[in-house]
Structure formats: structure tokens, C-alpha cells
């Protein structure tokens, strides 16, 4: 018995060592980015872990360094915040509304709409890219916040997820609330949403993350420097400013940090929601 116990202990230690090693490999690229953003410019991309550090890269972002061109990165950061928050909030609101109707209201055409949502979700979206750009251009939304937000105001995935979860809420609750004279809006807001709190966190975080890191659409829908989102700005810095890797790392760290903070803040809720949603 003692032998098998020791065996188990060894096995457990091996497991932890393996898990930690694998985790370090997976997270190392992030560390590399952060360390390089603080690294002295002579050491960037030259060492796995830099030894000399400075704030020059971050300073450069503000001042434009010797080029004197102040890249509007702070502006781009704000644009990213505005666009991704607005998009995500709309996707959430519309997701809940549509899912409520599809799961709890028995109306003519419901099955047709339900099937269409599924079809739409699996439809290759790439085919819609050019005409969507043309529509935005024709209605005068090119190079504006609305052009960035509206095509991403509805998420089929959010509708799909919420529909599945609302189906699990017993109809008895809703009927009781209706007898008490509650409106559909109130039922949605006061019963359905609180009951799917954990999944709401997951959907919100996934949508926010995806919108925050969107490149293709944000690149197409916008032309002027003041409208760039941070992700697109970094992508552009890749080219002509590619000789300034330090500021690129600094800007990348600033792009990555907010989303990581969000996941840490909502970490526990996120895990609960994931476990719930994957059941």
C-alpha cells in the first residue's frame, strides 16, 4: 500500500510539472511581448528574456520619437473601446430579444425564423464582405462609427446560445408572471436574464473579445487616421513603422491587457458559465 501511495504521489508531481511546463510554453509569447515592450531598444528581439529595461517604447507611442509623427494610438484605443462596447451591447440586447421570442413566444413563423438563424449562422460570411462594404458606402456610413458598428450589431451565435438556454427556463415562471400582469419586456429583463446570468457573462466576453480583435472589417470600413481602431493601427504600424519594434510591442501590450483584465475580473463567472454552457 505504501508503495502504491508513493507511486501516486510521484505521478501527481509529474502531472503538475508537465502541466506547468506546458503552460509556460503557451503563455511565453505573451511574456515575450510584455518584456520586449519594456526592453531597452538594443535588446529587442535579441534575447528570450531581456536584461536591460526602459520606458522608451511607451514614451515613443506618446511622442512619436525621432520621427516626430505622433501616431494617434490613444485615439485608436478609444475608438476600439467605443466600437467594441457599442457593438457588443447591441449584439447582447438583440440576442436576448430574438432568443426570447424564438424560445418562449409561440407565434406564426417562429420555426421558419429559427431555421433561418441556423442557416445564417453556418453561411460562409466572406461572400457578403464586398457588398456590405458597398452598402455602408452608399448610405454614407463609410468611415464612421456607425459603419463599424451596425454590420456587427447582431450576432447569430448569441441568438443561438440564448435560445438554447431560454428553452431550459420552465414556461411556468413566465405564465405566472403574465398572470401577474408582467409585460414581455419585464419578463425578459426580470426573469430570463437573471436565470441565465452565468451564460450571459460568457457570451458577453466572447463577443467583446471577438469584436475587439476584428481586423478585416475595421480595415475596410474606415479610411481616416482618426477612425482607426487600435488593432488596425498596430497592423498598419507593421509596415512603415516596422523598424520600431519597441513601440509595436508596447501598443500590442496595451491592446491585449484590457481583454485579459476583463477575463480576470469575470474569471469565476466565466468558468461557471463555460461549465454550464458546455453541459
Amino acid at each position: 500500500m505504501v508503495g502504491s501511495n508513493r507511486n501516486r504521489g510521484v505521478r501527481r508531481t509529474v502531472r503538475y510539472v508537465l502541466a506547468i511546463a506546458l503552460l509556460l510554453v503557451m503563455v511565453y509569447p505573451y511574456l515575450y511581448m510584455v518584456l520586449n515592450s519594456f526592453a531597452d531598444w538594443t535588446q529587442i528581439d535579441k534575447q528570450l528574456v531581456p536584461t536591460k529595461y526602459s520606458f522608451k517604447s511607451y514614451e515613443w507611442l506618446f511622442t512619436g520619437g525621432e520621427t516626430g509623427i505622433t501616431r494617434p494610438w490613444l485615439h485608436a484605443f478609444l475608438n476600439s473601446v467605443i466600437v467594441s462596447l457599442a457593438s457588443t451591447v447591441l449584439m447582447m440586447i438583440f440576442g436576448v430579444m430574438v432568443a426570447y421570442a424564438l424560445s418562449k413566444l409561440n407565434f406564426f413563423g417562429r420555426n421558419a425564423i429559427n431555421n433561418f438563424v441556423l442557416f445564417h449562422m453556418f453561411f460562409p460570411a466572406i461572400i457578403l464582405l464586398i457588398p456590405t462594404f458597398l452598402i455602408i458606402q452608399r448610405v454614407g456610413l463609410y468611415d464612421s462609427y456607425f459603419g463599424l458598428i451596425l454590420p456587427k450589431a447582431v450576432s447569430l451565435w448569441a441568438i443561438f446560445m440564448y435560445t438554447n438556454f431560454f428553452k431550459a427556463v420552465p414556461t411556468v415562471f413566465i405564465e405566472a408572471a403574465r398572470l401577474d400582469g408582467a409585460s414581455d419586456l419585464k419578463i425578459m429583463y426580470k426573469i430570463m436574464l437573471p436565470m441565465s446570468k452565468s451564460i450571459t457573462t460568457v457570451i458577453f466576453l466572447f463577443l467583446l473579445m471577438e469584436r475587439w480583435t476584428e481586423l478585416l472589417w475595421d480595415m475596410i470600413a474606415v479610411k481616416s487616421d482618426s477612425m482607426l481602431t487600435l488593432n488596425v493601427l498596430i497592423s498598419q504600424m507593421f509596415g512603415p513603422y516596422g523598424s520600431y519594434p519597441g513601440p509595436l510591442y508596447a501598443a500590442s501590450a496595451l491592446l491585449t491587457l484590457p481583454i485579459i483584465i476583463m477575463f480576470i475580473i469575470f474569471g469565476k463567472k466565466f468558468q461557471e458559465g463555460m461549465q454550464f454552457s458546455l453541459k
Binding site: 503538475y16 508537465l18 502541466a19 506546458l22 503552460l23 503557451m26 503563455v27 509569447p29 505573451y30 515575450y32 511581448m33 520586449n36 528581439d45 535579441k46 438583440f94 430579444m97 430574438v98 421570442a101 424564438l102 413566444l105 409561440n106 407565434f107 406564426f108 425564423i113 438563424v117 445564417h120 453556418f122 453561411f123 460562409p124 466572406i126 461572400i127 457578403l128 464582405l129 464586398i130 457588398p131 456590405t132 458597398l134 452598402i135 451596425l150 450589431a153 447582431v154 414581455d184 480583435t213 481586423l215 478585416l216 488593432n231 498596430i234 497592423s235 507593421f238 510591442y249 500590442s252 491592446l255 491585449t256 485579459i260 474569471g267 468558468q271 463555460m274 461549465q275 458546455l278 453541459k279
Partner: protein, 291 residues
């Protein structure tokens, strides 16, 4: 089904209906129309040229490459990400404590933007990077992004890095739902650890594995950012994905009509491929008696 429900149902679904009218049906019809024109995105006039765009696209080497590159990425990305995700899931599932802490750690790469991960990889592979300095010391000078095969592998690896934690999360919940009694019964029968994995864990994991496989195959049809950032589709079209090809034709060469035709071909290829992959996965599962 009363009147009130009908009204509310349509009212509540109206945001989606309006959205799909403007951003689905509208673009879809427009796209079909564009594909039979020679419009160049800026000119005020255009001609209807029938199926010429499609004929040109079917003959174009870069469209051919876009078609095959998808499957090359599948061959690289899907096995790597699946094996890694299973490894991470099994490893983390077996830890008595800090399970969720580890899972969140492995999930972190999923939060990175493709632009950022490309930048990091570009740095790690730069001429002066420790890896390349070391390789030159032992006599290897590799142009990582300038060689077709290594460029394919690098993009595949970035994607695998990004998605492993996410898929592992899905797989761990699959592992968690496996009844412990099955393992206990197997232990009494003296099953070895290897048999345990192949005969019990994998079959019972199949439903969640199916989900992650479908997701992973889907990813390969939508690769854009990493390729745009690192190779621009090169070298010699070796990493030219559908999205890259369409983007190049539409917004660099301004061939809106031609690009629409390519996009339609891409959609057909995607649709049929995904359909076949789903069927094959189902057959595979059934033949092994996993479903």
C-alpha cells in the same frame, strides 16, 4: 397561439429580420449581380459579362492556391490542435487541485488578436532572434516566412497556439461528464493505462471531440489576419487563403466583380467541404461505435 403572441413574436424578432434584410439578403443578391459584371469598385460604369469572371477564376493559379491552401492548413492545424487540446484536457483533468486556474491559463492565448500574435511570432523569428542565432551557429539559416512549407507551418502553429486552450476547455467538460464507475470497473478488470485511454476515455469523449473538430475545420476556411500580417499570401501563394485572395482582388486590385465571383466559389467550396467533413466524422464515429 393568440394574436398578442404573433404581434410580440414579430416585434421581438424584428431587429434580426431587419438586420438580415440589410446585411444578408441585400449583400447576397448584390454579390450575385456583381459576379457577372466587370465592375472595378470605382468606375461609374460597368458591363455585364456573364460567367467570364467565373471562368477566369477557375483558371487562375492564385484561386487554385486558395483552394488547396485551405486543405494544407487543415492537415497541419487540425491534428496539432486536436492532439494538444486532448493532451491539455487529460493533463489538467487529472490534477487534483488548481484545475480551473490551469484551464484559464491555457485559455489566455485565445484572447490575443491575430495582429498581436503575428507580431510576436515575427519577433521570435527575426534575424537576430535567439532561435535564429542558435540555428546559424549550427549551420542552419532558415528564412522562416520565405519558405512555402515553413510559412504554412508557422501560421498553422499560431492558430494551434490560439485555439488549444479553448478546445481543451470544451474537452474537459466532456471528460468531467464521464462516469467514474466506468473507470473503477475497468480498474478491477486490470486495464492498462493505454487501453484505458483508447478504449474508454476517447470513445466517451467523442461527442465533445466532434464539436472541437468541427470548430477546428471551420477555422481553416476563415484564416486571414495571420496570413495578411506575416506573408501577404506568399511566398509564391503558399499561404494564400480564400479570404486573402478575395481581399487582394477586391481592395488591392479593385476587381469587385471578379472578387465577388471568387467569393461565391469560396462559399461553395466551404459549404461542400464542411458538409463532407461532418458526414465523414459521423461515419467514423458510428463505425467505431462511439455515437
Amino acid at each position: 397561439m393568440d394574436q398578442r403572441n404573433n404581434k410580440m413574436g414579430w416585434l421581438f424578432t424584428s431587429p434580426y429580420l431587419i438586420y438580415s434584410l440589410i446585411f444578408f439578403f441585400g449583400p447576397l443578391i448584390w454579390s450575385f449581380f456583381l459576379s457577372v459584371t466587370d465592375w472595378n469598385l470605382i468606375a461609374p460604369t460597368f458591363n455585364i459579362i456573364g460567367f467570364e469572371n467565373f471562368m477566369d477564376a477557375l483558371k487562375s493559379p492564385s484561386v487554385h492556391s486558395a483552394f488547396w491552401v485551405t486543405y494544407k492548413f487543415m492537415l497541419i492545424f487540425v491534428p496539432i490542435v486536436t492532439v494538444l487540446a486532448i493532451a491539455v484536457a487529460v493533463l489538467v483533468h487529472g490534477l487534483p487541485r488548481f484545475k480551473s486556474l490551469f484551464l484559464i491559463g491555457f485559455f489566455l492565448p485565445y484572447l490575443s488578436s491575430g495582429v498581436v500574435s503575428s507580431l510576436i511570432v515575427k519577433g521570435l523569428l527575426s534575424y537576430t532572434s535567439p532561435l535564429n542565432v542558435f540555428l546559424r551557429k549550427i549551420g542552419l539559416d532558415i528564412d522562416w516566412l520565405g519558405t512555402p512549407l515553413s510559412a504554412l507551418f508557422i501560421v498553422g502553429l499560431i492558430l494551434a497556439w490560439k485555439f488549444t486552450g479553448y478546445y481543451a476547455l470544451i474537452l474537459t467538460s466532456g471528460l468531467a461528464s464521464i462516469d467514474k464507475e466506468v473507470y473503477e470497473a475497468a480498474a478491477i478488470d486490470g486495464v492498462t493505462e493505454r487501453q484505458r485511454f483508447w478504449r474508454i476515455t476517447l470513445p466517451l469523449l467523442y461527442p465533445s471531440l466532434y464539436t472541437t473538430l468541427i470548430l477546428a475545420f471551420g477555422v481553416t476556411f476563415g484564416i486571414f489576419t495571420e496570413v495578411y500580417q506575416l506573408t501577404g499570401g506568399g511566398p509564391n501563394n503558399a499561404t494564400n487563403t480564400w479570404q486573402m485572395e478575395i481581399f487582394k482582388q477586391a481592395f488591392t486590385n479593385l476587381q469587385a466583380g471578379y472578387a465577388s465571383a471568387v467569393a461565391l466559389l469560396a462559399s461553395v467550396a466551404t459549404f461542400i467541404s464542411i458538409f463532407i467533413i461532418r458526414k465523414l466524422l459521423e461515419i467514423w464515429g458510428k463505425r467505431n461505435g462511439w455515437v
